[in-house]
């Protein structure tokens, strides 16, 4: 494992470059759009957070990257997903199988349903390295023990032969991570990977992911409804709402100077330890749309307290500087006002 230890080389081209990705599900009652033209990239070794509430399209975005959908579901995908310079959208199912688990791995929320209950955990880890890396049975077992120890499972020599049911929730999630990193993927996607865990265990798992990223130079895509998770281990973050990215930027900038009214609304609602008792929360009125319809204009419009006439026109992603941008006309107004104050008359 030591071969790839050390800091990753800074490549100029991003590891993953997604442009105009859309995904919809064909159901009996028609086409349901889940992701609507998102573009983003992840550099080698970078940790990108994707936050948003249920149904915003954050998980579907991740599944679309490697087309990991149930065989029975009818999915319509469009856009480009360039991974190491190759468009995965054009890849065959067989080619994708070679990418999944080898170069891009996903860890899901619920380890118990992701693990095979009747197979010792060691064999589940070994399976991956035998399949992708052609390890012998014996070498794969050694590797499994090594990985279990790497993810912090005590007494790995003995635990390697245990069934998943013998592990606690936190330990099972460590096993899932061991499987995910077994082939030293370039990108690890954690989809609500710590949501079901207790706070102390969540902190341990996040610290582990952060450590592995640094050790292996692996890029992370951290999908969570929890801004705290993303703040803890990501460099940059994008906020999704109703199938689109409404704001993105470096984590610290975005949290300190959120631009989009939706992000600001969410941040206001994160329960904090230092708020006063009986301090009243100011919820965002209404609910996110259940189904995305063909519409022009800002999707947050019906719930936005700053909405104006102009919001019926779809806003572009406005660059507000420092790699921070927001899908809102307010930011456009602000940037124009700033430019105007520097160079009066320059902007019309």
């Amino acid at each position: 494992m030591s071969a790839t230890l050390g800091t990753p080389a800074r490549a100029t081209a991003p590891l993953l470059d997604v442009s105009d990705l859309s995904c919809s599900f064909l159901t009996r009652s028609g086409e349901v759009r889940a992701v609507d033209g998102v573009s983003f990239s992840i550099a080698e070794g970078q940790a990108l957070g994707v936050v948003g509430e249920s149904g915003c399209g954050k998980s579907v975005t991740a599944l679309s990257l490697v087309r990991l959908f149930p065989p029975t579901s009818k999915v319509r995908l469009s856009g480009r997903v360039e991974f190491e310079g190759r468009d995965l959208m054009q890849a065959s199912e067989a080619e994708l199988r070679a990418v999944r688990g080898r170069q891009i791995s996903i860890v899901f929320q619920d380890p118990l349903t992701s693990l095979n209950p009747v197979l010792p955990v060691g064999e589940q880890i070994a399976e991956s390295v035998r399949l992708h890396l052609g390890f012998s049975r014996k070498a794969a077992r050694e590797r499994a023990i090594d990985l279990l120890s790497r993810v912090g499972i005590p007494d790995p020599q003995r635990r390697v032969d245990d069934l998943p049911v013998r592990f606690s929730g936190g330990m099972r999630q460590r096993v899932m991570i061991a499987i995910a990193i077994a082939c030293e993927p370039k990108l690890l996607i954690a989809d609500e990977a710590t949501t079901a865990l207790d706070v102390t265990i969540q902190a341990q798992i996040l610290a582990l992911l952060d450590q592995l990223r640094r050790d292996f130079g692996m890029a992370l895509m951290v999908i969570s409804h929890d801004l705290g998770v993303v703040s803890a281990i990501c460099d940059s973050v994008q906020v999704m709402y109703a199938g689109v990215i409404v704001e993105r930027g470096p984590v610290r900038t975005l949290l300190a100077e959120a631009e989009h009214p939706y992000t600001r609304g969410l941040l206001r609602l994160v329960p904090r330890l230092d708020t006063m008792r009986h301090h009243r929360l100011r919820p965002i009125p209404g609910q996110p749309p259940q189904f995305l319809t063909e519409q022009t204009g800002c999707r947050f419009l019906p719930r936005c307290e700053h909405a104006t006439e102009r919001c019926h026109e779809t806003p572009p992603l406005i660059d507000v500087g420092h790699r921070h941008s927001s899908l809102c006309w307010l930011s456009d107004d602000k940037m124009r006002a700033e430019a105007e104050s520097f160079a009066p008359g320059a902007i019309r």
Binding site: M171, T200, I201, V251, L266, P271, P283
Partner: protein, 352 residues
């Protein structure tokens, strides 16, 4: 509403001078699990809840907090101890007498979908407790249901809806309406907002607070999210492997956690500020490893296997809850042999 004899919607401030509405003493719940082994998810627990107040109960999965909530409602039978609710002993209560008590003792569950009967309409669900407790005639009940739905922010058009067609937030509002319609004195809220999205969670938290102010109901608020508990609670009890390790006024426990476990829990709460990453690494110093299984409870202090400060005494002798000293100590209890010594540690080694 006359038939329901509801004591008006007055504001009842929490008051510790009034006698406790619930007084649990030395409660132990033991039962056999599938393998035949006996486990003790609630072990010698004593807590009190006063009229109009919220007691937050925190702890990790398997600490016994939900079992304690269910024992209070007598959804299961405790092995020993006392549950004095509104002056009445519940531990040996059965049948009709127990059902009668439940008018004043209700529960809100975490999973609103699973706890609403999909074959019933919203109106039927919310009025069911009134029918069960034979409160009012039909017209009164219908009016009470409409009013209750209005209180939780749902208009009468929801009466005939099927709960499965509603969002998680709306379902939880119905769960709350059903729990409060009989004007209970105490509601056990078992992780009521954990399954909800942030924007909906805030709406439900506000609703619970508003209804408490209006109705003077007490809450036992069970949750693993410490920030939510901080937000809602007057007092807090911290539970670990079946026992209370610390309890006291919420502002005290959060500002000056005395038990190493409480300190570890607080250090593990994720932040959203510029210190988020550094704090994550710091949290690792407080809590080691996993919660032991209830099959194999450590001797002495049950936290000793995860505690960074554990010493020989901690492995041998069980600490009991003792009242902390100091000028702001009012009613702040801790079960740790060495809490005094830990207080002297540098600030960086203590939770905020």
């Amino acid at each position: 509403m006359s038939a329901l004899e509801v004591p008006a919607l007055e504001t009842v401030p929490p008051s510790s001078d009034a006698p406790a509405i619930l007084r649990i003493a030395n409660l132990t719940v033991r039962y056999a699990i599938d393998s035949g082994d006996m486990i003790t998810p609630v072990d010698d627990v004593s807590i009190e809840i006063y009229p109009g107040e919220t007691l937050g109960l925190v702890g990790e999965s398997g600490c016994g907090k939900s079992t304690l909530g269910r024992a209070i409602l007598r959804l299961l039978r405790p092995e020993s101890g006392s549950i004095l609710f509104d002056g009445q002993e519940l531990v040996r209560l059965e049948g009709r007498a127990l059902r009668a008590v439940r008018r004043h003792l209700q529960i809100i569950f975490q999973d609103p979908r699973g706890s609403l009967d999909p074959k019933m309409t919203v109106g039927e669900i919310v009025s069911e407790p009134l029918r069960v407790h034979q409160l009012g005639v039909k017209a009164d009940r219908n009016r009470a249901v409409t009013e209750m739905l209005d209180s939780v922010g749902l208009d009468p058009s929801y009466l005939d809806r099927n709960p499965t067609t509603l969002s998680g937030g709306q379902q939880q509002r119905i769960g709350i309406a059903r729990a409060l319609i009989t004007r209970p004195k105490l509601v056990v809220c078992d992780e009521p907002v954990s399954a909800l999205d942030l924007s909906v969670q805030a709406q439900v938290i506000n609703l619970l607070q508003d209804l408490q102010r209006e109705l003077g109901v007490s809450y036992l608020f069970i949750a693993h999210n410490l920030a939510v508990v901080r937000h809602l609670s007057d007092r807090v009890a911290v539970m670990y492997l079946g026992q209370i390790v610390e309890q006291g006024p919420a502002h005290q426990v959060f500002a000056r956690p005395l038990h190493p476990y409480t300190q570890g829990l607080l250090a593990s709460v994720l932040r959203t500020d510029s210190e988020a990453h550094d704090r994550l690494n710091e949290a690792q110093q407080f809590v080691k490893g996993d919660v032991p299984s209830l099959h194999d409870v450590p001797t002495g202090c049950r936290y000793n296997t995860r505690c960074p400060f554990a010493q020989d005494r901690c492995r041998e002798e069980r600490p009991v809850l003792e009242l902390s000293e100091g000028e702001h100590a009012e009613d702040h209890w801790v079960a740790c042999h060495f809490w005094r010594d830990l207080e002297g540690l540098p600030k960086t080694f203590r939770a905020r």
